[in-house]
Symmetry: C2
Subunit: 120 residues, 2 copies
């Protein structure tokens, strides 16, 4: 019976995160944020997230992700798994192919945390 | 002789960055962004940036950064150097102490790149 669950399913996660710059963050929050940033801090993973996010419905078939990044299918799948584990993508299988979809709000949360303009 | 340096000194870096999610980014931009995210993707460095950003004038003496993160001065200096090399902080010496200041726009650029709400 609590509205605190709502941000998880909101499309832009606009309500959950005090910007990193308005107050010093504690160790636990820093650990959590560092894990998310580490998952993104790789050129291939950034490109994969970007392709998925820019696709129709923010969803892309794995068959459309391999050629643009120029890596083998197992390597691409490895990177996609890291992005799923960090909560940026979800995966669903339809027919022969797996489809990867951007988790609504996942990037928006990070964006808001880093938004220096909101506080100074 | 290039205007590409300008965003670094802008207060909010509002003009430089197409969000990551509006179009697939190219390999060069992904490399650059990954380097910046890697520099931030560490719990201690996130706490240091956060303390500096939340300080008066977004500037803090190194003497006020050591105790909160509970690490030795050389270790803190090492982390601060990584943050400087990545363009998040600048350093100036006044008297006995070094002062670290948030680079205006550096976090805002990242925030804008990750801003999913701007495009979808």
């Amino acid at each position: 019976m609590s509205t605190t669950l709502l941000p998880v399913i909101q499309p832009d996660a606009a309500v959950c995160c005090t910007p990193l710059t308005s107050e010093a963050i504690d160790a636990e929050r820093a650990d959590d944020l560092a894990k998310k940033l580490k998952a993104l801090a790789d050129p291939t993973r950034l490109r994969l997230v970007s392709i998925v996010a820019a696709s129709e419905g923010t969803e892309a078939c794995v068959c459309d992700l391999i050629e643009p990044v120029g890596l083998s299918q197992p390597t691409v799948s490895h990177h996609l798994k890291i992005l799923m584990d960090a909560g940026f993508l979800t995966r669903s299988k339809r027919g022969t192919w797996a489809y990867y979809k951007l988790v609504p709000g996942a990037l928006g949360q990070l964006s808001q945390l880093l938004d220096v303009t909101a506080s100074r």
